[in-house]
Symmetry: C2
Subunit: 340 residues, 2 copies
């Protein structure tokens, strides 16, 4: 067998089958995937549950970075999109676009990482597809994962449920993933041990829903565009959130990199953080639930939503440490390619 | 708005939203998609049905070809993977990887085509994702579609159900898609009106299952690798299929191109053909069902499965018009990049 990906590996014939069996099935092995049919069949959902469905492509550069790699990201990101909809993930798909010439060792390392991330999250890749494009027509590997989850039919999470007085919680620090990737892309070496926060959030969201039930109004994972973009998308109609700048959880290395590069932590991508809007009186309970799990141990209450008739350009207001108030609009005009 | 795709369109911020609203939602508009959440929520499946799940990435070159384009292919291909599992498609996802500099007009044309294909098939794109990579890091556009379908829990289609005496049917001509793409890639102009056979097969598979029930043993769409690869994957353990070469449905232009290029029609990719293995005595009924729908009007019975102890290298045997017998092994060593 060649030690790089060949065009023939995408032909659908014998070489494709060999690649699947030797590099992929052996690392992700589970009965549904190894059947190799055109579709995977899942178990019937329990009564009172409906399917949630999501998709994400991953084009991150570099492929490997402190705290993770493109494979781990692809598993966690899609799990998190299901989790934020209130769903428990049931199964993932894996679509690979490979560039001719990719080292099979690199591919194997990524598939290993996907396998590990799946096992840790308790979810399987049940169906997949592999395409190969000629050298120079892609950049090593692009990954799509889609996911199916089960969500209780009476679970209604929606921005439309957000009310004045609701509390906004964030499960941990801002921008660890964004700064990790951006500094690598720029060839910068950060001091310390900053790494991507990539992490599955389905246990955290399930714990919050179990405790607060219908008092959870909406959950989001602030990936591309960051917390500022999510808050601005969620709020409108005169609702706004005011946050104390000093209350934002930001690691010192992230803060330092932001100052050096002129970036705003509220725009940075996160890959393992949950933003939850809950009924205001239950904020402390929600905080306790988040902090009870490792993935939420640095959770904070960002603030409570208020009505602000004068809001024009943004629904997120930052109260700076000098006492000023600054509107933080959705991300605009920052080209951040291949952050995830 | 720029008239090409910019890196900023993949940032997750305002430019991303504008692209979604102006180019994508407006063309695919349906409530689930326009909600813009991280996941789409589907209706509960009826009792006695379970979810089928599939994924495919599309990297076809050229993007537009006689009979279709990458968008139409992406809708049909994923519908067909669900249909071949006995499922009725419920919803599709759409993952776009765009190269910086792609003309927005080209993107709009592809999304239009996706919208038309969805409407014709009676299925919606309910969730999506868009990434942008820098110029030279992809080739214009790659598309992933994943799909969810509903399959009756008592529907058991599996190669394990194939028996001696079963009939193998093919719903139409061989290789229309493969030859259409390969001749374009080679810069050849074919005479006549040959075009890709890209087409949704869910109505055909549903009609066959409705009529024959459990006497349908397995269905497959012979895409990459063609009919020969599928037959060889399905059969084993001494089972083989012998086909009269003259009985193979091949259009004259496809036959001519195969002779010119030294290709075997049985290896060519199809994007709108179904191969069905059914209980032998019901072959004529199955043929009548297939021929009753436009997508199956050129259907044929390829032959019946027999036991052949001497089969070694292949399970598909071609009886040539000179009376010889030729083994047709799975596709091997033919690099056919970007055929779908």
């Amino acid at each position: 067998m060649s030690d790089t990906v060949l065009l023939d590996h995408g032909s659908g014939g014998l070489a494709s089958r060999k690649l699947l069996e030797e590099v992929i099935y052996s690392r992700l092995g589970n009965p549904a995937l190894a059947e190799g049919g055109d579709s995977a069949l899942l178990a019937e959902l329990p009564p009172g549950f409906r399917p949630a469905f999501t998709t994400d492509s991953y084009v991150v550069d570099p492929l490997f970075f402190p705290g993770g790699d493109i494979g781990k990201l692809a598993v966690h990101g899609t799990i998190n999109d299901l989790a934020m909809a209130g769903a428990q993930p049931l199964a993932l798909s894996l679509g690979l676009i490979l560039e001719e010439g990719l080292e099979l060792e690199t591919l194997a390392r990524i598939i290993d990482s996907i396998g590990t991330a799946c096992r840790e999250a308790g979810i399987n890749i049940v169906t997949g597809d592999t395409k190969v494009v000629p050298r120079g027509k892609a950049d090593k590997i692009f990954i799509n994962t889609s996911g199916i989850g089960a969500v209780a039919s009476n679970c209604v999470l929606s921005p439309a449920r957000i009310r004045e007085g609701d509390a906004v919680l964030l499960s941990g620090t801002l921008g660890d993933h964004g700064i990790t990737i951006m500094t690598r892309q720029a060839g910068m070496e950060l001091q310390g041990d900053l790494q991507s926060d990539t992490r599955p959030l389905h246990r955290l969201s399930a714990a919050l829903l179990k405790k607060l039930g219908g008092d959870v109004h909406v959950m989001r994972d602030p990936t591309r565009g960051g917390v500022a973009t999510v808050i601005n998308e969620l709020l409108g109609g005169g609702l706004a959130l005011e946050v104390e700048e000093t209350a934002l959880p930001v690691r010192p290395q992230v803060q330092a990199a932001c100052e050096l590069l002129g970036l705003e932590p509220l725009y940075l991508a996160n890959e393992g953080k949950m933003l939850a809007v809950v009924q205001g009186e239950r904020a402390d309970e929600a905080l306790a639930v988040l902090r009870s799990l490792p993935e939420g141990e640095e959770a904070v209450i960002l603030g409570h939503i208020h009505r602000e008739e004068k809001v024009r350009t943004a629904s997120l207001i930052l109260r700076t440490f000098t006492g000023g108030r600054r509107m933080v609009a959705p991300l605009q005009g920052m080209a951040l390619p291949r952050i995830c």
